[in-house]
Amino acid sequence: MGMTAIEKILARNSDQEVVKPGDLVVVEVGTAVLYDNNLIPANWRDVLSVKHPERVVMVFDHRVPAKDIMSATAHSVGRRFVEKFGIERFHDVGPTQGISHALIADHGYALPGTVLVCGDSHTCSAGVFNCAARGTGSPDMLYAVTKGETWFKVGETVRYDLTGSLAAPASTKDVLLHIANEYGDHATMNVEFGGPALENLSLNARRTITTMGAELSAEFATFEPDPVMLDYVRERNPGVAFEEQYPDEDANYYGRHTIDLTAIEPLVAMPDAVLNNSKPAREFGGEKIDQAFIGSCANGTLDDLAVAAEVLDGKTVSSDVRLIVTPGSQLIYKQALKAGYIEKIMDAGAVVTNATCGACGGGHLGILSAGETCITASTRNFKGRMGDADSRVFMGSPATVAASAIRGTITDPRDITGEG
């Protein structure tokens, strides 16, 4: 019996011919990404030795620029670490600032066929690059950085074959909500994506799916390699060798499902859960919102800003709504400026913030009070996620969020754009 893509990556990096579900493997860490939440006093210890400083990336993203003394302290700890161990790939406040997962994509840090760990749960994002990318805890990161290795329990893999093409303004966010609705949690399992629809999906669109793999409770979320992805990585890593991993034809999948993208419609998840909790955007009967947010590692890409600009172009955000837009990185922000997206978004009445995790995790730049309602294009809508435990967070695509911001109520984007 053959192996799935993730099994082959884990086998390679643990020097084994074969791995199978149930195995515990020790793998070499190709890239270790530290971020500000690792560096707060309750989570961090002074590191005395780093195994491979050239494999370490340091990012400040959750609370940048520092929003309080605790985040400032964490950033100081990070700067000292970078100085002490000569870490070259360092993303401080400034032009290369951004959310770790967006930066990994911007700079091509995730090499196909390798292992990448980061202390943030949405690290599965980099699975779009055919990388075994995994969110870990802070102690895990100390282990990976000092010893150069980590362990994984190998889980079963569920394969999703994507066919057809999306009918705009439906997006891969809607695809993910559809999968979460139909198939529920994937705890202890991996998800693998491939199929003929890949050629119709940009890397950004694919990355929304892998990032949201964390919300399926999956272990690894991995895309099959294709020329678009491989060219992108090669361009950013000239002369660097890597070996992408395709699943074997007789790979052993726990389950296999075909998702026809043509049939996907805008969906919205109701408050408190992403799993088994969505319904069509048109079925919300004028549900009023106070805030709308577009950003995060899941929906802060250039594609997402383009869609927001398209929906908002020439329209005005409802006077009852605060629309907050947070690009995934300063690089994306600049690209969106050049493309004219930011002007359209701001002209409609939105506030565009600097690149950071920001409102997504309730850290800063758009916290909700008790009784408020938000619709978000970000990663999570758990109870209390974006502020007070008595606020409510609905979740949809950037198009759905932009449309809802215009109307002041949860709105199917097709009712604004006239598409579909």
Binding site: L24, N37, I40, P41, A42, N43, R45, D46, V47, L48, S49, D68, M70, S71, G119, D120, S121, R134, G135, T136, G137, S138, P139, D140, L142, Y143, T146, K147, W151, K153, G155, D185, A187, T188, A214, E215, S217, A218, E219, A273, L275, G361, G362, G363, R380, F382, K383, G384, R385, A389
Partner: protein, 168 residues
């Protein structure tokens, strides 16, 4: 190292208990001690005052969905001796290992216990017994290396002993 066998009072939790419920985002930058006071404040206010040292959490599917935050450490710190769930989110399970909090996956466990029952959990043969009903369930084994780390108080003492990180 001798493998633990525990007996404790059961607290029952439904499926999909997420990390933001265990350790709310607003407490992420708190100290370890402050974080203990807010565990389950949104879904089970007052629970932290009732839970006793040595109690056991029995949960349905997908416990610990969500963030990498040290939520497992907070459960350990408030006195929970062990987590037994139908299934556990992989990242949460890593944090159980690395923060030194005993955890097991056990099919059928949610239906086999009512809150207040006494559970006997053996890491020798990975069985979970309800002392009221006498029912014994077979849990999934935790690999020796991971169990040893859980028992040793997590991975930080290991790194300290090897001189890789500073002592607290």
């Amino acid at each position: 190292m001798e493998k633990p066998v525990l007996e404790g009072k059961v607290w029952s939790f439904p499926d999909n208990i997420n990390t933001d419920l265990i350790l709310p985002g607003r407490a992420q930058y708190f100290t370890e001690e402050e974080q203990m006071k807010v565990v389950f404040e949104a879904n089970r206010p007052g629970w932290v005052d009732e839970v006793q040292q040595g109690d056991i959490i029995v949960a349905d599917r997908n416990f610990g969905l969500g963030s990498s935050r040290p939520a497992a450490r907070s459960l350990r710190n408030v006195g929970v001796a062990c987590l037994v769930a139908e299934s556990i989110n992989g990242l949460f399970f890593r944090n159980c290992v690395n923060w030194g909090f005993l955890a097991l996956e056990c099919p059928g466990v949610a239906a086999a216990f009512e809150e207040g029952d006494i559970a006997k959990v053996s890491f020798e043969d990975f069985t979970v017994t309800n002392t009221r009903t006498g029912e014994t369930l077979q849990a999934g084994a935790v690999p020796d290396a991971l169990l040893a780390t859980m028992q040793a108080g997590g991975v930080l003492p290991v790194l300290e002993a090897e001189g890789l990180i500073a002592k607290e």
